[in-house]
């Protein structure tokens, strides 16, 4: 898919533009706030996103064999994706390029789903310190265990759905 030729992205862009025009007519202050928040978000996130995409470029070469073998088997794939996802740092959107690489390489859909869920449910290391500070170690530990269980369910659910109704094929 190419963003410059894919019309659906132009539609999304136009919808966002209409939302801002509406916003500008309704409340100028809120529109300025929205622009400022967006700008701050872009400035803060872009270096991280740049590093994450660069990292995945190198990772996909090193992990190609590992992904090819382990992510094709649903059980090994879901378990290794759960562990890999918990260890992967960075913002939650950074997982999508890696998930795409695995999916295109023929990885099992359950493993891809588990990888995304595992990376997103707990922000290691940046989020966990703040979570312990705000909600305590007991709450964090309970959420960690529940997150692992949820990740496994996510992986097997996707695998089962795709087994009976094939939605994705390698």
């Amino acid at each position: 898919m190419n963003i410059f030729t894919d019309s659906s992205w132009w539609i999304v862009g136009i919808v966002v533009a209409i939302m801002y025009i509406w916003s500008l007519r309704k409340n100028r202050e809120k529109t300025v706030h929205a622009f400022r928040r967006s700008g701050r978000f872009i400035l803060k996130s872009l270096p991280l996103f740049f590093l994450a995409v660069l990292l995945i470029g190198f990772m996909q070469i090193v992990l190609a064999d590992f992904i090819e073998y382990s992510f094709q088997d649903p059980n090994v794939g879901i378990l290794s994706a759960t562990v890999l996802g918990l260890l992967l740092p960075g913002p939650r959107y950074a997982i999508y390029p890696l998930a795409q690489v695995i999916l295109v390489a023929g990885g099992n859909i359950g493993a891809v789903m588990a990888l995304i869920a595992s990376q997103q449910l707990l922000d290691v290391p940046e989020g966990c310190f703040i979570e312990v500070k705000f909600l305590g170690g007991r709450f964090f530990l309970a959420r960690l265990l529940i997150a692992v269980a949820t990740t496994l369910v996510a992986g097997y659910l996707a695998y089962a759905v795709n087994f009976f109704i094939p939605l994705w094929s390698p």
Binding site: M1, I3, F4, W9, G13, V16, M19, Y20, S23, K30, A34, R37, S38, G39, I42, K44, S45, L48, F49, L51, V53, L54, L55, G57, M59, Q60, I61, V62, P89, G90, R92, Y93, Y96, P97, M113, I116, A117, L121, D123, P125, G127, F129, I130, E131, F134, L135, G136, R138, F139, A142, R143, I146, A147, A149, T150, V153, A154, L157, L167, W168
Partner: protein, 179 residues
């Protein structure tokens, strides 16, 4: 600020490790890795900008207190369903959500609902939707949206048997926090 530097630092160290690994083990494939990354960046940056504008708009127009106001005690599964959906609709990184979770807790909302809310918020967010559709397709996104709602309810049900034990701990942490 320190957190952001730590994350970027960790990513940079990982990048260095994988660069050296590729340089030593697959020296002929360095160009391929850089090509992949550059193409990915060029194609993604416009989506990233659109997604950021969308997140900014939601931040300006969706009242954050709405999450607190909308949620009232309901039946267990219905309540978990509603709060998971609210979690999905709440934008922002996880550490910006803890103050909301803290407010929900102070309003007397049980810990299993908080876990469902955090599950929904972390698994899906308004800003990430365009990126997810771009990288993984609409079918994948729709499936993940439905499964996120189910997983939020599942996570809440997992926490339900220990919710009193968690509530005690949360109250203790809250008291220490306010001291």
């Amino acid at each position: 600020m320190l957190d952001a530097v730590m994350v970027e630092g960790t990513l940079f160290i990982l990048l260095l490790i994988f660069f050296v690994w590729v340089y030593v083990s697959f020296p002929t494939r360095i160009g391929e890795a850089i090509d992949f990354s550059v193409t990915n960046l060029i194609e993604t940056i416009p989506i990233f900008i659109v997604a950021s504008l969308l997140a900014g708009w939601v931040d300006a127009w969706v009242d954050k207190d709405l999450v607190v106001r909308l949620f009232k005690q309901r039946g267990l599964v219905t309540g978990l369903f509603v709060i998971t959906c609210l979690g999905i609709a709440t934008p922002g990184p996880i550490y910006s959500i803890f103050p909301i979770v803290y407010v929900l807790k102070k309003k007397g909302i049980d810990s299993h609902f908080l876990i469902a809310y955090l599950t929904g918020q972390t698994l899906m967010g308004p800003m990430r939707i365009p990126l997810e559709i771009y990288y993984l397709g609409t079918t994948f996104f729709v499936f993940r949206l439905i499964s996120t709602v189910l997983l939020g309810v599942f996570a809440g049900l997992c926490a339900y048997p220990i919710h009193r034990w968690l509530n005690e701990s949360l109250e203790r942490v809250s008291a220490e926090f306010n001291r």
